[in-house]
Symmetry: D2
Subunit: 276 residues, 4 copies
């Protein structure tokens, strides 16, 4: 295989990524269990600021929210764009938490860097090699989501594209792969999480929301992820999932989110992970 | 869907299966975390009795060992047959633990019933409907492994074949599904475990050995399985995995097995499960 | 790999299988394009005899019809059993065509051998190794359908199970594999057909009905199969597909069947294949 | 589903795309069988001009050649870039044939439009929605390859992204999907070709080279594609496949390419397709 930088051979110790914020440094990687939470998309200023404060108060470490949304259909809601980025910035100011948002288009790189603390490369762009090379040249952590049908090897080589341009702050995110199963939205590959903790030094986050597509499966899959060694979770939370413009069926209510966090703390402690 | 007996609609409470043995009753189902362990195949009397005592002393609750082995190639070792069954019986006597073994051929049903406490229907026979109906007519617990590419619906309907003949003692076993990923032998579907705990009242066991095909992934995947709600695990353990006639790369040494059990106890306690 | 008898190494020339019948010998293999047709299941004597005469008059070479039907749900119509076999025998007498039917249960082997000219092993039993070994000991051609998610290697090794018991009359049948695509019932693997014509000497038949699950796709996929080198086709035809007890949406009306045959003759001629 | 422009509902007649060139108009769509040929990548001026003249003289209608190559590993040969585009232009001048090349990066759009007659969107970018929207605003035919694990619905919606921006010249290209099968590089979905000819008015091309990954399977799969209704083929041809910088094992020699064309002409004639 063609790995150089993504694997342990030349980098035996785990990578830990520091994300500075108003309230101090948030860490992702060895020894930490980091929770990223928020709605799928930034839908409006008021709603976003409200949910941001809620998840912060419940214990989330990083805020998520899409300003640019990759949608299968050209006719679906595709995010608020720059306006969404500005709302994220405001939420960051108010909560003191760092934010993560997706970058879909190279031409938006400067703006996304300005407003976001972590840049997400979505599943559909995991092999958008121009985009990977570009984010390899900025000084921001990059979270690379696994492609819908990407092998572990291809995923690591996507990370390698970022690393080989000089950006060492790469986070992997398992969000489920596509299989023939239809009762869940995707099939979360828990074995890949375990395998990558051994093969690679990069932190790995699991997204149980996209992986299952069903609200009531988020808790058990989140617990399984941390038990298998994941360094954190990315969880969709929405005030009124029924009214969400995207991904409602897999979004937790704030009440469910608290309950998930409670359970995660036990597992994290068992694995000697710090819940910051 | 065509479920009647496998789902909670007409059977809201969890099924718990009692398996009587020399040392008392072993339980599989709600509230318990049951460990099935042993080598892939019964290879010889001496080796089997030795490993049986070892895993018993380490804390395993049920012994596994194949007498009839389904092998992809007609030229591979296919098990010791009836001789293997007799060795299982001897191990049961010596250890006091119940045993589970696979039934492949309807014509062996009587013998397998005589020597084994639980009958395993393997992945390749998950839709061998004649076999399913036959084991639906005996008074033994039946463990139905998920087919290599079976949907959750098909798997539940396979269980339904057994249940509708009158046998209520059905256990499901997730052993990984086939995907495009090649770094692991199969892809364990942890979301299916979580989903089935909700949809069905039947106990569900996870087989992290077949699911991953790699020894060092057994522990994290086993922990994930229990965290996701599995009622137990089936784990391959061999004195000398290097010399195993089948499945060596995924078999644990006894030392590794102890270490896995230690970790599992913590997770089981967290989920309020009794480690018998 | 563990092939000995299924591949060309020790058997360079193509296998051609002769099936004797009242109207002479029907051939499957090199140089022929053999059409197997009929309804999914034998539903009643009158209906079966009628459709059998129709497809015979239209040019089919072999009659299909299920007496024992493997059904995902235990509550679905599972065939007429022995009564169905007797109807097949009558159809064979009346039309002079050989018949093929599926064997699901070892205990039915003698009866199926008595009434059927070719024995079909269905997808769900492709790795029912006891069944494969048994049909390796009878003097009847065996058609081994590819498993729902079987690799080419596993499929050839299933054929090897039959061959290594002494039965050289093995026919492969590609019926589509399971993928994530939902607009077709299965994904017919046309590349596997081409690859097997090179790797193996065994005849290969394609089943465009199960492979697509949609009536209007049967013709183009049937044409593609013969263009890729298939030795024949197995096509579901029913007088009233709307009323079929199984597989109605993929069954052709007799009118559509004629039209498919017309198109196939052109392709077969182009590939120098004899339409018997 | 969310289709408006890609399906027949509002556009019952087949789309035919005219590509003007020095030697006249080349057509893709109903009634034509159009052959796109050339090496995977433009590797050097001399080699490209040589193979371009060869495939032109043999009967190819359009030249292919990658200047920007999406490579799984960042350390693989990624194409000659702008220099490659200039070589394509020279080949177009010399042969009089139109050329097609892949666009990976929005920032290269102007240059690719300047030098290429058709713009290819590769599998890995099938859901690069920014790129799709941009090419929807230029006056060039766009060939959208199916994603590695894209459903037919997602593929059509990718086409819809281009169409809804005003560019009506969209061509679909089936290049095989990812499955568990390892003996072929991908699994060509011949049923999807048949289904799309019915559901959509857009022309569909099949790429038997990427679909199989094996030189000797290109001919039978190419024949199958045309038999199933494909409007043309994209075939990799290289003077010395052994020395190709990418995709050597699936590239035809010029001699094999002639032989494939000969066979295709027969099938095309049978389907009343004009081989221009």
């Amino acid at each position: 295989m063609d790995y150089k930088l993504a694997v342990r051979d030349n980098h035996p110790e785990d990578t830990v990524i520091d994300i500075p914020g108003k309230s101090g440094i948030t860490r992702i990687g060895k020894g930490y269990c980091t929770i990223i939470a928020g709605p799928c998309a930034v839908e409006s200023r008021d709603k976003y600021l409200e949910i941001a404060m809620q998840v912060k108060n419940m214990g989330a470490h990083i805020l998520r929210g899409g300003a640019f949304k990759p949608r299968t259909s050209p006719y679906s809601f595709a995010g608020l764009g720059i306006e969404g980025l500005k709302i994220l910035e405001e939420a960051r100011d108010i909560t003191g938490l760092p934010v993560i948002t997706e970058l879909m288009d190279i031409r938006d790189l400067e703006q996304v860097c300005r407003y976001s603390d972590i840049i997400q490369i979505g599943s559909r762009n995991m092999q958008n090699f121009s985009l990977l090379r570009e984010v390899g040249r900025v000084n921001k952590p990059i979270m690379v989501k696994r492609g819908l049908a990407a092998t572990i090897e291809e995923w690591l080589l996507a990370a390698e594209y970022v690393l080989c341009e000089g950006n060492e702050k790469v986070i992997l995110c398992e969000r489920g792969i596509r299989t023939f199963e239809v009762m869940t939205r995707n099939t979360v590959d828990i074995g890949a999480v375990a395998l990558l903790k051994d093969l690679s030094h990069l932190p790995i986050i699991v997204d149980p929301s996209h992986a299952t597509g069903k609200r009531h499966l988020v808790k058990p899959v989140a617990m399984a992820a941390v038990a298998a060694g994941a360094d954190g979770l990315m969880i969709e939370v929405h005030q009124n999932p029924e009214e969400a413009l995207s991904d409602g069926p897999q979004s937790l209510t704030p009440e469910l989110f608290i309950s998930v966090l409670d359970n995660l703390k036990g597992i994290a402690a068992l694995n000697n992970r710090i819940f910051q």
